[in-house]
Amino acid sequence: MRRGFIALMLSAIAACSHVATPDPAPTAAIAGEDPELRLVGGRELRAELASADVDVVLLNVWATWCVTCREEFPDLLRLRRDYRDRGVAVEFLSGDFPSHSADVSAFLRELEVDFPTYLKAGKDMELIEALHPEWSGALPATFVFARGGAVVQWWEGAASYETFAAAVEAALARKRSTP
C-alpha cells in the first residue's frame, strides 16, 4: 500500500516537472542591507538553484505586504532548520519592489534571518515564466526543485509546516527512487 502510494505520488510530481533553460549570470547584493539581499532575475535564479549542491531546494516567493506570506515564514524557517542536514535548502525570494529593500531587511531581521535571501529584479513576466509558466503570479508561491533544477512540485497560496515537509519528503523519496 505504502509503496503504491509513493509510486502514485512520484508519477504525479513527475507530471508536474518543468525545466527552464538556465541562463547563468551573477546576482548582485544590495549594499548595506543586513541580512544580505541579492537582486536576481528569474533566469539567473533558476540557474543558481540548478547549481546548488543539495538534493532538494524549496523556494518560497513572498513579500512584506503579503499577510499570508508573513504568517507562513516562521514555518519555512523551521523547515530550513529541520532539513538542513538532509540535503535540503530552503531559499526565499522577495517580490517586493527594490525600492522597498529596507522593509524586506527589517522583516528578515525581525525573524532573525542570518543568511542571504533574494530580492526580485527585472520583469515579473520573466520571473513567472522562469519559475513555472502556469503560476499566475499570486503570492505566496512555493516551488520545490530536484537536484539539477527540475520543478517537482509547486503551488500558490499559503501552506502549513506539514505541507512544506510533505513536499520535501516527496522530493527526497523521488530522489531515492531514481537510480
Partner: protein, 199 residues
Amino acid sequence: MKRIVIAVLCLFAVSPSAAVELGAPIPLAEHSMADVDGKRWSVGEVSGQKGTLVMFICVHCPWVQKWNARIGDLGRGARAAGIGVIAVNANDPKRVPQDGPDGMRRQIATNGFEFPYVIDNGSTLTRAYGAQRTPEVFLFDAKGALVYHGTVDDNADDVEDVEQHFLRDAIAAVAAGKQPDPRETKALGCNIKMYTGAD
C-alpha cells in the same frame, strides 16, 4: 506519517484553478453585485458595443495601488472607445479590513474611477473567472469572447519605465475590431482573499 500523507494530498488541493480560457464567453454575465452605494450591476449590463473590460482589484494590494491611477485612466479610455468597464473588489473585507467600502470610496475618488466598482460578495464572480490575484484583467470583444487576460503593463513600480502597455494596447485593438497581441500576460500580485462562508 498520516499527517504527511494528508499534507501531500493537500498540495494538489491548493493548486490554482484555471482561469477562463481565451475565446470563452463572459462568465455569469447576469450575476448582480452591489457597489459601495448599494446600486447593483452585472457585467452584462455594462457591456459596450465594442467590448467589455472586467478588472479584479482590491484596495490594500500594493500592486493595485501602484497601478490605481493607470487603471482609472485606462477605464476612462476604454469607455470612451465604446468598451464597457467594471471593476470587481475580489477580497473578503473580513479577511482584509482595508478592502471594505470606506477604502473603496477613497480609491474611487483618488483615482478617478468613472466605472462601476462592485463587491463580489461570496466570490461567485471571482471563482467563475478563475481569477487568482489582484490586479487581474479580462477583456472581451464585441461578441463577448475573451481576447485578453492578464496584467496592466510590464512595470507596476514606475510608469515612466513601462516598455509594454499590455492593456492599453489590447483596448486599442479591441476598439478597432482586432485581436490583441499578446493575448495573455502575467505579473506578480496579491492572492485573492476569497469569501470562505456561504454566498
